[in-house]
Subunit: 555 residues, 2 copies
């Protein structure tokens, strides 16, 4: 096959993606509906079988420098994983990846974009296999694992390709420069402009979103010509491995070294990320995870461009509402979905201690808190449905944190342990809501990762907004939700969002939730507060992944 | 006046600039010819008068926090400057600048671009005044001070505006997001996307190019909504001050706080840059200067995005030529212009020890070196013309360095002291060329700033190219020139340029010189080797200066 075949095959999709990032209307080439009518009658079963075939088995990847095996995943649903992955000597791997970079670089943006879109297309066709992997490593419920781990992750990957492609194409490949010299002949030069990758890239994955948070950095670096090492979180390796296998197959078919996308796996007991991230030849790093390690990378991986998404205190401010039940239902879903283990889940809910206005009159602070508590209980009253939405708690530390945090405030809604209808050993806990006073800032202004949120009694909405701005500016946040029927308050909220550098959602009371962001339309994180130094996806996320090297000569 | 008037006035110029950065053909709205027919009959005289009126005087700028005066410039041409500048308490200044940022931010990209283009237009009209200031601080000859300090600097400023404007405009201000829901009504959201500046920006200027190296960062930060403090080099304050005064006038006329562009001046004895650059509210830093301080900023100013242009070992490789005289004339100009004090001047010239091929037959290493030496002597034989081209040596340290470096090799061309026809106290020195062996890497692979270059005897052209790649990768460089009549060598040179991340000029033997770069067409520095972490101007130079903050709500 010609190297350009993939580009031709996917050019229409790429063009649509380039339009989507401009218009920012809804668009996706990867259906989020896992229905057999969309993905094929046997897609679900085949995907599950492919997943099961990985269990208790060695997962093969093509990489130089394999020295043994490494394993250690444990499913939050309690099934035995026991997948073994290649253990790699990255001092052997990295030089080989560097050597393979030249032909990938010289292939140019079109060929690279074509390969990336083919990888994404095959990832999409394998969404069920990957969904099973995401579910059993992250603990997400199946539907979420399918959507967020499959099509939505693919969307984010494609979005990164589109941004990077546009940025590369803004540099012409050649130019003729003609400078008039009065009566003399003009000076004429012929110029070439090469898009040159930075070097080997590293993507450090997280345990909760092993594909959604890995694809943007992976594809942004790859399409700009950089070979990529994925270092998945030791608890969530399989979905990354399955994705990399597909990438390797496509690269090979297109005539490139498959290990242009490689995987380095470690375990919690013997982590390698620090050593790998400070390797002199690692020039780009994408990281999703804790502030502690993200800040460490920003300060220590000086040889690399570092893009981080870290933690924060996601916030909701309630000033006034039309329909408290609709608002409470909306927030109940946000607090429940994946047991609050999203980097966008609300933790701090500011409400004036004197209560709020509703269309039906005044409502006290405690009544608002109760409405939220009742809506959440009701939403989770059917255990089967609850388990599907909650999923399982990814790590023991998160489950323990619920207990540890109980004493931080007055319990408005207690967390319950639940039993999953299919997986008796699954680690399932419902959300806990605590009531605190605005003055107890040390309690609610640290990130408490997991299904833990606070209703916070403030002096007024003005006070709420000020606290929101201060805490987000200092601790970071990816989402801010504001509920108000007062335009002046909403205007002030817009100002707070700009000052704190956080995305704002206003009066969500229907089918859109503050913790969800849509690729091609919503920017995920801003890079403007301590929760991240980058945004998915903006120009800054892609332009630093390559340089332009020019040459010029007289014609 | 309406805030949009300036945008309307300059929209056609901005559109042309946006085209120019795409086509990368020659373009400039600011004539480089200082002729009275272009700039007006009395422009030169008025500019000189305006410059002279500054001497022995207090230079007024509008800034909160002025506490006294500071002075200390000394002209390399030996005239008395004695200009006094405001001394500012930046703990008073910075909060006021932050407060003024909001209205500048809310004015939006069009209004800001209009104001920036008006500033650039007035800078252009004041090119003679600024040229006198550049000449008497940097030591550049008048013609160069006019062109590089005037129109070419304005070009680089406009280029930065165009890049930043394009990047901001790639984010739509609003969008409607409509997500189909099968048989149900679609989810519809209305979204706003705000371009939000990072905060107060700092531009740290250099002594040799006080406007050319200041305008890109200044305008890139300003047009993206950030207030800007210029901290000029204490030896070259006046051209920056004159530029800032114009910026303040335009800002004021447009209804903004004039001190959105401010100046903090210090002296060599009492520098403030470290303190200023690590101030918590400084969010962007542009720096041109030494590796030592540039690296210090990159490592210590962690609260800011840091863009640096530092030093390196600019390189020429001679493999084979058609006309050695044309090549030698071209290189003689490069080595002579501004006494080699450009960040683009060649320092290392690699030549095979067994000689090169020319159209007239073989030529020995020594004959090539001699040709270069003779061409330089001849070019500088007329003292009046020599002084115009050489300009004066900016700092005593550079003048002393010539003497210090004499012992590093065999002197092929000795540096001479010259007397300027108009300025008897001017510090003028002609270039020195030293012969060394490739093995003496410590001698030629450190930057020797000033009119000092090395002809380096190598084993072969292959050896020359390998050394070029190694030294540039380790020490950095902004320019690489290669002379060869062999296509295979030129192909290899293209590869070396990509590997080392350096701009390549091929076979320059006419009116274009390796040390000159043209705005809108040539990328100055790549950000891909130790000589810089940024490029003038590419996408990466502008996209990190703002973030995007969105809000969304149901319609």
């Amino acid at each position: 096959m010609s190297q350009n075949d993939f580009f031709q095959r996917h050019q229409a999709t790429l063009d649509q993606a380039l339009n989507a990032i401009k218009s920012r209307d809804y668009w996706s080439p990867y259906p989020e509906n896992p229905s057999p009518r969309v993905y094929g009658e046997d897609a679900a079963q085949k995907g599950e079988e492919a997943f099961k075939a990985c269990l208790n088995n060695y997962f093969e990847l093509e990489m130089p420098g394999i020295t043994g095996e490494v394993a250690g995943e444990e499913s939050p649903y309690g099934i035995d994983m026991n997948v073994r992955y290649p253990k790699v000597d990255f001092d052997v791997l990295i030089p080989e990846m560097k050597a393979a970079m030249k032909s990938w670089r010289d292939a140019g943006p079109d060929v690279r974009a074509g390969v990336c879109l083919e990888i994404l297309d095959r990832l999409n066709k394998n969404s069920f296999e990957i969904a099973n992997g995401v579910m059993h490593t992250s603990g997400q419920g199946f539907m979420m694992a399918f959507q967020a781990g499959g099509p939505h992750a693919q969307d984010r990957g494609l979005e990164a390709v589109a941004y990077a492609y546009r940025a590369m194409k803004e540099v012409p490949e050649t130019a003729t420069w003609t400078k008039p010299q009065g009566k003399h002949d003009p000076l004429v030069m012929e110029k070439k402009f090469h898009v040159v990758p930075r070097g080997v890239a590293l993507v450090v994955g997280c345990s909760t979103f092993p594909t959604w948070n890995t694809y943007p950095g992976l594809f942004a670096s790859l399409v700009t010509g950089n070979p990529v090492i994925v270092k998945p979180h030791p608890a969530s390796v399989l979905p990354a491995a399955a994705s990399i296998k597909i990438a390797q197959q496509v690269l090979k078919e297109a005539g490139f070294a498959p290990y242009l996308v490689s995987m380095v796996t470690d375990t919690a007991d013997a982590p390698v990320t620090k050593e790998l991230a400070t390797h002199k030849d690692i020039k780009l790093i994408d990281f999703t995870g804790s502030n502690f390690f993200g800040n460490w990378l920003e300060e220590n991986a000086k040889q690399a461009q570092v893009f981080t998404e870290k933690a924060g205190v996601n916030t909701v401010v309630i000033d006034s509402v039309n329909d408290i039940k609709a608002v409470a239902r909306n927030l109940a879903f946000t607090l429940s979905l994946y047991s609050g283990q999203m980097c966008t889940t609300t933790q701090a809910i500011y409400i004036p201690r004197d209560g709020i206005k509703t269309a039906d009159g005044e409502m006290s602070f405690d009544d608002v808190a109760q409405a939220l508590s009742i809506a959440t209980s009701k939403f989770l009253s059917d255990n089967d449905r609850a388990c599907m939405v909650l999923g399982a708690i990814q790590s023991c530390a998160t489950a323990e944190r619920i207990k540890e945090c109980e004493a931080l405030g007055e319990v408005v809604l207690a967390s319950e342990q639940r039993e999953h209808p299919q997986f008796p050993n699954a680690r399932i806990h419902t959300p806990m809501i605590l009531k605190v006073d605005a003055s107890e800032q040390d309690k609610y202004s640290e990130e408490r990762f997991g299904p833990i949120s606070f209703v916070i009694a403030t002096d007024s909405t003005e006070h709420s907004l000020q606290l929101a701005q201060d805490v987000i500016s200092e601790k970071g946040a990816i989402t801010l939700g504001v509920y108000s029927t007062d335009d002046a308050v909403l205007e002030k909220a817009e100002e707070v969002a700009m000052e704190a550098g956080v995305a704002l959602s206003v009066n969500l009371d229907g089918g859109v939730f503050v913790n969800q962001s849509a690729a091609f339309s919503d920017f995920h994180a801003t890079g403007g507060n301590p929760a991240s130094n980058a945004s998915l996806t903006d120009g800054a996320f892609v332009t630093r992944r390559f340089i332009v090297v020019q040459s010029r000569r007289h014609i």
